[in-house]
């Protein structure tokens, strides 16, 4: 299965806590192909963020195998295989937007000229041209998050890992950013792993929806979306969209068992 960008087989992760072991991931099997847009959805504690962090090499699974681009997540991390977008924009308040975006480039040792060229390109990609000289506090929350996406894109990793990037934003802004993200995905042909707890967001964005449930964190359903790649916002009123959303909801409910 070397064709998968991400390949997880029998993945387990147990955290040792003061209250005993917590089974954050149990027997996770998943293959993600190049160019896919995969959403992970589930209630808190279902392991969706943990799985993303495993892919990023920020957590180490206790059992099972996980490869990114055919190598271990740690090697992939050191090869700068992915850009990671956190829930908070996490821009440095003491750097301008342009200097924030060039932070990874500085660390990776790009030349000054190359840094400037790339910053300009990715800021255009997230529609923040002309904002490079502003400081983060001068931008709205949505713009800050776009700047943080630009930062993750700046070094041209083929894989984009996004951990509830729009979770803290209001719905109107979120709709706009979702549209922009789809456009950006079509332009750059990246593989995107996207953690969310919003059903419409997951269905609207994804080619593949991974439904997860907690205690222990596991995958309960994997839905390949039949929606076309071209998606106007009003696709959310179509029968197909509603059918997929319904299936996600069913999956979430089944996973919850008698918990709720």
């Amino acid at each position: 299965m070397a064709s998968h960008v991400i390949d997880a087989a029998g993945l387990n992760l147990t955290f040792q806590t003061g209250d005993g072991p917590v089974h954050a991931l149990k027997d996770v099997d998943l293959g993600i192909d190049r160019g896919e847009f995969v959403s992970f959805i589930g209630p808190s504690g279902c392991g969706k963020t943990t799985f993303l962090r495993c892919i990023a090499g920020l957590e180490t699974p206790t059992d099972g195998s996980l490869t990114v681009n055919g190598v271990t997540p740690d090697e992939a991390r050191r090869a700068r295989a992915y850009g990671y977008v956190f829930q908070a924009a996490g821009l440095y308040p003491w750097r301008t937007i342009a200097r924030n975006v060039s932070l990874p480039l500085e660390i990776m040792g790009f030349s000054k000229a190359e840094q400037a060229e790339r910053v300009e390109r990715v800021l255009a990609l997230v529609e923040l041209e002309g904002f490079g000289r502003k400081f983060p506090w001068q931008l709205s929350g949505g713009m800050q998050q776009r700047a943080s996406i630009a930062r993750a894109l700046s070094f041209d990793a083929d894989l984009l890992l996004m951990d509830e990037p729009f979770g803290a934003l209001d719905e109107i802004v979120r709709d706009r950013l979702n549209e922009q993200l789809l456009r950006l995905w079509a332009q750059t042909e990246k593989t995107i792993c996207f953690v969310t707890h919003s059903i419409p967001e997951a269905v609207y964005l994804s080619t593949k929806i991974v439904v997860m449930s907690p205690r222990p964190g596991r995958i309960t359903d994997v839905i390949d979306s039949p929606l076309p790649k071209e998606r106007p916002l009003d696709i959310r009123d179509s029968a197909e969209f509603i059918a997929i959303a319904h299936r996600v909801r069913e999956g979430l409910r089944a996973g919850h068992g008698d918990d709720v």
Binding site: A56, R77, G90, Y92, W94, T96, I107, F155
Partner: protein, 288 residues
Amino acid sequence: MKSLGPVLTVVAALLALWYAAAVVMNAQWTYDQAERAGTEVTLSELLADTMTQRRPKLPAPHQVLSELKKTVIDTKVTSKRSLVYQASITLGATLTGFLTGTLLGIALAVAVVRSRVMELSVTPWAIISQTIPIVALAPMIVVLSSRIGIEGRLIPKTVIAAYLSYFPVFVSMVKGLRSPDAMQLDLLRTYGAAPGQVFRKLRLPASLPYFFAAMKISMAASLVGVIVAELPTGAVQGLGSRLLIGSQNGQPLMIWAALVVASALGAGLILMVGLLERLLGRMMGVRA
């Protein structure tokens, strides 16, 4: 200028309080003099006399002012009687002590943040160092440094000032360097940043607000340290020595003038740190 009214009110209230206290505290001497001379004092005589005694218990503000005028403006700055000259001696030691202490505080903080062993071994001693009263330690340092053949007073004064001023910087810098949260550190990990890069690009800039807050405290501590170092052991120069000579010779005006100059010096130094902070803040995009 809306704030001018309240500010002036407070100043006026303080001055009134000062004058009232001067009358109360100096009255006894006036009464004693009158008794010895076998005369009565009227209230107006009492008020006039308590404002103009040559060796009052508490000099009135205008007396301090005229002493300041005499020793700051009317005396040549090269003269030992000039408070400007004495203040410059204190200022020099304060700055060298402050610089030494700040650098030491930063170095210790960096070491502690980088290494668990250093944290366990240095932190307790740093805290213990501040529990020793400086008035007990200062004479020892002065005497010891002359025993081992160090000429002049600058080095022992610097040592004492640094001893007091490193601590606020140390404590704040440890906190500041540790202020970035887990997400910020994770982000740099995803870039494969080396520890040195994490330090330079994240920890150091994140610690700057803490650093400036600490510098203001340690500047004041440094000044206090120098003055304490000038007090004992027959120091012949600096504001501290003026305080000592004033109290030995029973010249309260001299003491008060030196005190005013010392506090003005402290305020000026802290103001300078604040200006530096503003300047750097503007470069680093702090919202105005």
